[in-house]
Symmetry: C2
Subunit: 243 residues, 2 copies
DNA sequence: GTCTCGTAAATGTATATACAAATATATACA
DNA sequence: TGTATATATTTGTATATACATTTACGAGAC
């Protein structure tokens, strides 16, 4: 049962190997679709499919009329997948639980008004939750939600589903922005996350849009000693340029 | 000058909008390629192109013989682009400079042997550099390099190019693994990065492979108060920015 | 009732072709 | 010399078609 490998995959592999072996210098033009098609004895559209895959992954860039080149900067090079915390915990085979600290309508704090695209003092829904992995705090979540877009936000039971899960159901295919930083936290958070004194935290800011509507802004705090973001991706900071 | 929009883009947009409007429930089958083709009056291959784009981005999944479905978990949705620090600084229009602290051959520390895939005590190249943005320390880099794969590593001038740039030139299209965490640092690093006492740091572990060969392992430390990783999925962004 | 097999449906791969659009280069002209 | 124009090259989009592959489902044999 030798598996049949599609021919465009062979062309794709040939291109990837060629890049690794530096068969083409940065700025140099790679073979045209026609050249690849003839070399491999396939039609132009088959060669096109191989090239397009690498373009989609940010490995190559093409310019109409010019040719195909190695991408100078990978579009979405190394990536850190950030998922729903409860999914993440359950995928590790651990027990997820949570503590709901607050669920209320508050006035937008001045320092968050810009983030939320609202005027300071406007009403906004706020939920504060500690997420736990095997009973150990792993994330403190403070989420601000635009009441216009999610009017039922306060009526949910966030022991059954996380706010993120609720909002994902309301707004599929959101645009998401993440900012990651390392911070110190105050004593309240220190207690909630059961941190050692002075222990740093990984802070994720997460904003989600649906179309042009800003749905919510969340501050997600993880104990530095108990949490990491990680990822492995193909392709990285190669330096090459057309022209 | 009304721009001509390719027809497959219209189909793609139609599918995305349909997902946002929850026209199809999770688990439900989306229209087949033939159905889309007839609905839009195009050939099946044109509809295929639209669907394939969304599959490549992890929005949809397809099963031969079954149909097309909304992806339960976005394969690699939110992403944090991590690039070469000097490129990043120069793109911000700032001045990049660096301080070379060390460039030598050392024995693999026991705690890093596993990371490097080497036995403890084996010889390894080590470079330690402080990268500066407008003269202000922004990254401390400690990089361990396999001497078998990059024998000329110690002979480079790392004021002219960063170790990452040198290695990227040697090994295009690497596989890259990142781990991000928040840590406290010792007084040496505190002084090198000009940190306030007790200021947390964002620590990036970066390992790069070429094929199956592990090329290098780098620990990249950023001042928590001066550095963030950020990204926006399905939009611009995709870089790091200081405050 | 259970198993096997055929068929329908849907996606996966591949071809040959055609024309559009963008780019660089060569050419003609003032 | 400088500028406009034509041309060749290359990628972008689109079609119509063909056959392969996977899956579910139902019909028929036992």
């Amino acid at each position: 049962m030798s598996k049949v490998i599609p021919r465009y995959k062979a062309i794709r592999a040939h291109l990837e190997q060629g890049i690794r072996e530096r068969r083409w210098c940065p700025g140099e033009r790679l073979p045209t679709e026609m050249a690849l098609a003839q070399e491999f004895g396939v039609s132009r559209m088959t060669a096109n499919k191989a090239v397009q895959e690498l373009v989609a992954e940010g490995v190559l860039v093409r310019h109409q009329g010019l040719g195909t080149f190695i991408a100078e900067v990978r579009a979405e090079s190394p990536l850190v997948g950030i998922r729903n915390i409860s999914d993440e915990i359950q995928e590790r085979g651990h027990v997820y639980s949570s503590r709901l600290l607050e669920l209320s309508e508050v006035a937008v704090p001045a320092e968050l008004a810009a983030q939320l695209g609202m005027v300071a003092g406007a009403p906004v829904f706020l939920s504060r939750i500690v997420h736990q992995e095997n009973g150990v705090p792993i994330q403190y979540e403070a989420r601000y939600v635009n009441p216009l877009h999610a009017p039922g936000y306060l009526d949910q039971d966030y022991r059954q589903q996380t706010p993120n899960q609720y909002l994902s159901g309301l707004f599929p295919l959101p645009d998401v922005e993440h900012v990651v930083e390392a911070v110190r936290v105050d004593v309240e958070i220190e207690a909630l996350l059961q941190l050692e004194p002075g222990e740093p935290c990984l802070l994720l800011h997460r904003r989600t849009w649906s179309g042009s509507k800003l749905i919510s802004y969340a501050r997600l705090l993880h104990p530095g000693s108990r949490y990491r973001l990680s990822s492995r991706a193909a392709g990285g900071g190669g330096a090459s340029a057309p022209r």
